[in-house]
Amino acid sequence: MDKLLRNKTAIFIFVAPALILFTVVLFIPIGTSFYYALCTYDRTTRSYSFIGLGNFQKMLTDPNMRIALKNSLFFLLFSCISQLIMGLLLAGLLTNIKKGRNLFKNVIYMPCVLSSAALGLLWAFLFHAKVGINNLLANFGIKGPAWLYSTTGFITLPMWVIAFVALWQYVGQSMMLYMAQISGISKSLYEASYIDGATKAKAFRYITLPLIKPMVGTAMSLNAIGSLKFFDLIYSMLGDKTENLKMDVLATYLYRTGFSSKGGHHYGYASAIGIVLVILCLLATAIINRIFKTENYEM
């Protein structure tokens, strides 16, 4: 048996395809990406010339980059906080009921598996300046705001709208993670606390919350990375309109810089944006893990 499991040829045949794929499609391109970030791409000669940190210097003074970064950080903060509150609330309430728990859970999770591109179109219609929600408001004599077409404010209204749509779509994921953790907590802990006279709210505060702290870290890192990578919803809700420059996030700005029909093909600069994105992802994960680092309690 042991000999069979140490069969070198078999091991090689089993792992090689996956590892080769990983190296060729993922790790080599990452290296290339770092190199491109230090280059500028000439569209006519199709060549890259090394310019050192030039792309990153350009970022410092690029107003569009500043907007994209601002919006991305807004999504990051908003999704971390809102998903934590809503996810915990839903999970906490759901674990308190028996009948219909599965149904509610599955329905709330449903948008997570649906296409963001499709749902984005739906919400774009609902928040259209003339039809959609504003049509409904008009029946009551209220003139609604221009929603996705409004461009004022530090964080523009479209960003808030999309942030709430994203919360609607993805809160199921956080809820599920918290539910999984809460159902792992021993019932005897709660019984003991009720005997000591604790209310449900108090039990939640002093038993549930501390015990799910590690999961808060996990769920929040997932939200953070997800919101930094955010592309589908914004692209399908706002479209490829250059007049919407104030509504870029890092991912859409990268896409526009690299591939837009108008003014694209800046592969060097786009790679540099990609690098910033990865660094932000790592940074956010590291910070969140530091905040929620806990010793593991016995459950």
């Binding site: 078999a10 990983f22 990406s33 308190n96 449903m110 591109a117 994921q173 890192s221």
Partner: protein
């Protein structure tokens, strides 16, 4: 307890009211897309929230033809099914070698693969695009399958490793005594025993790739090679949007996922949760 039923607490009623409200928030948009997809354009603009007076099923036919949805659906199916089969095969092979076979670098290989989970696809978008353009993989569905496969593998390897490790040793040993080769052990014993895991990874891979937009948008510009999410975004142009065609198109795109989800919602929810935690 003498009483037949426990007294229902007001807090429980409040919780149910809250969740029924949530159900409305989650289901109403889908119901509303379905309703709107059967209305004419004039009806949509005049009264977007009313039910259709006459069911205009022909909207679906128009949308299907105008958006080239038939071919987009076929492309999406092709890409997703190939990716799904390859992910299950390559993923479980690697998982078996890592989780069950004995070699020094097994843990290192696992770490190498799991790192892939943390890398956003945006980071490799440009190098891949440039490389693929050079070797004829842009505007080619295989150019989508390769990265989809690579980004689906970590989760499947992670889940399958767990399943393979839980197979009792005796089962494999008895097969060994019967003279099975290691390949036979893998394909005829380990794989069938882990079919739950295969099923979960398959569902997750399918859903993730069915909805993928960014790569498909960048790598495919040929109208006959577009996948469904990309075809959908084409219904919105900067100057006008054909709502009467857009809503049937949205329905066509989300119905397969809704059907799969309704059939297997418990497995999907559990699988996606496990898949998410390891990252």
């Amino acid at each position: 307890m003498e009483k037949k039923k426990k007294k229902i607490k007001p807090s429980t009623i409040l919780i149910y009211v809250f969740f029924i409200f949530m159900m409305v928030i989650y289901l109403a948009p889908v119901v509303w897309i379905a309703m709107t997809s059967l209305k004419t354009r004039a009806e949509i603009y005049k009264n977007p929230f009313a039910a259709p007076t006459v069911f205009h099923w022909e909207n679906y036919k128009v949308a299907w033809e105008a958006g080239k949805l038939g071919i987009a659906m076929l492309n999406s199916l092709f890409v997703c099914v190939v990716t799904l089969v390859l992910t299950m095969l390559l993923g479980s092979m690697a998982a078996f070698a890592i989780g069950r076979m004995r070699w020094k670098l097994a843990n290192a290989a696992m770490v190498y693969i799991l790192i892939g989970m943390m890398i956003p696809v945006h980071c490799v978008l440009i190098p891949l695009f440039v490389r693929f353009a050079n070797i004829g993989l842009s505007n080619n569905l295989w150019g989508l399958i390769l990265p989809y496969l690579t980004f689906s593998l970590p989760t499947s390897v992670y889940i399958m490793t767990g399943f393979f490790r839980s197979i009792p040793n005796e089962l494999l040993e008895s097969a060994c005594i019967d003279g099975c080769s290691i390949y036979k052990i893998f394909f005829q014993i380990a794989l069938p025993l882990s079919r739950t895991g295969l099923f979960v990874t398959g569902l997750m891979t399918f859903i993730a790739n069915w909805n993928e937009l960014l790569l498909a948008l960048v790598f495919i510009s040929d109208g006959n090679k577009k996948t469904l999410p990309v075809a959908l975004t084409k219904f919105v142009t900067p100057y006008q949007t054909n709502y009467d065609k857009m809503f049937p198109a949205i329905m066509i795109a989300i119905i397969p996922t809704i059907v799969v989800y309704t059939l297997f919602s418990n497995q999907i929810v559990d699988g996606l949760t496990t898949g998410a935690v390891k990252g």
